[in-house]
């Protein structure tokens, strides 16, 4: 006979996986709405955020109940604590997706800026980081979890490149004329998008840290430890 508690833990896991899937899709849609200048996709991201917020509340409520009623220990306790934290990170990533979508809506209304290669790279890195974070949770893979933060430097670098490109562009657009003011406005909105993606990388790194805690019970936050897996 399966224990009631084990079933409830499975429910918690399913809820967070559902939330992870929706969050990743929201981020994908948001970046596609920017790349393809698709305002419908951007609207869908903004509309879909409520579902993710509701799932976060659901995770909190299941976790609180399990902590109060089951007094979980060891791996179960770490799983519940870690899951609650991961749901918070996912909810924030989804908020970043909404923020990107809102910038896209503005940019869709105006002619496109020149292609920025670093932006596409940044989108790919952020998406990879989130993907790796989720899959480290699914596989309970410590090694995979702590490797995510190594990708964070690449995300920071790409963000900086986007910023530099657009600052140069804005400098060239001075002194301001009416047309050139729009250049600045589009550039700033685009910089905000890159900043959102950079935050996604940070939050995905946090998820990896929570997974490391769930799997091995170690806290690797705010520590520069290089794990040697050789």
């Amino acid at each position: 006979m399966e224990r009631h508690f084990i079933k409830e833990l499975d429910d918690l896991k399913m809820t967070i996986l559902n939330m992870a899937a929706l969050t990743r899709r929201a981020l994908e849609k948001a970046t596609h709405s920017y790349l393809n200048r698709d305002d419908k996709l951007a609207q869908a991201v903004i509309k879909g955020d409520k579902e993710i917020n509701d799932l976060e509340l659901q995770v909190d409520s299941i976790s609180l109940k399990l902590l109060a009623l089951e007094q979980p220990m060891a791996g179960d306790l770490r799983f519940i604590i870690g899951t609650t934290k991961i749901s918070k990170e996912l909810e924030r990533i989804a908020d970043q997706a909404v923020n990107i979508a809102e910038r896209s809506l503005f940019l869709c209304q105006h002619p496109p800026l020149n292609h920025i290669p670093a932006m596409e790279r940044l989108m790919e890195i952020a998406d990879n980081m989130l993907d790796e974070a989720i899959s480290s949770f699914v596989n309970e893979n410590f090694k995979q979890a702590i490797k995510i933060r190594q990708m964070d430097d690449m995300a920071d670098q790409a963000t900086l490149e986007v910023l530099q490109t657009l600052i140069e562009y804005m400098v060239k657009s001075t002194p301001a004329t009416e047309k050139r003011i729009l250049n600045t406005r589009r550039s700033i909105q685009t910089i905000i998008i890159s900043r959102c993606l950079e935050r996604v990388g940070d939050l995905a790194t946090n998820i990896g840290e929570h997974v490391a805690f769930i799997v091995e019970g170690v806290n690797i936050k705010h520590q520069k430890i290089d794990f040697d897996f050789s």
Binding site: R3, F5, I6, Q71, P72, M73, A74, G75, D76, L77, R78, E216, G217
Partner: protein
Amino acid sequence: MENSQKFITQHLNFYYGEFKALEDISITINQNQVSALIGPSGCGKSTFLRCLNRMNDLIPGIRVEGMIRLDGEDIYAPKVDVVNLRRRVGMVFQKPNPFPKTIFENVAYGLRVNGIKDKKALKQRVEKSLKQAALWDEVKDRINESALGLSGGQQQRLCIARALAVEPDVVLMDEPASALDPIATQKIEDLIHELKENFTIIIVTHNMQQAARVSDITAFFYMGKLIETGETETLFTRPSLQQTEDYITGRFG
């Protein structure tokens, strides 16, 4: 630190007749700490506890191998005075078992056995013990009434006071709160926290949350073996062994 070690057992085996109830137990119990022994029924935790003041000697057909040292001295050596050992290593049992005497006489009993006759000294020691057991305020006005009129929780604290009266070094507690309601249980648990300042406490409990709440060190026994021992916080958040994890998370068997 050498002087903080109270009990050391080395390769302890214990037999009831042919049945080997404890196998190769090596553990160190530190002074002024609470050590909790956990494990499923029949795992040997109570048997181990009763080895520490030779309570098992009263059972026919038992046999002990290996070493148990209290403050460095072998407690199974032939010259050991078992009565004195049990004065140094007191015990509290699952069911409160006050004598059918007054509250005062219950606590004074061990003192009288130890030859203390001076009334003033007796009174002082009884009061001190009842205070240590957090019972004094509740019974000071009826100290000469029967102990059997006390509630279960009060009776158990009286038994603790009785154990403390003879000034032991170590107090062994075998499921001391399992017959008590939650409020009385909480009082016993709070008391255990207080007592470790002056005593070394070893507690057997089926209640894992209780072990987690009261102890500094937890030892997990299974089928007569000591599986894992360590700091309570570590053992209940990230135990080293899968077998321990399975037991404390209820995934056993």
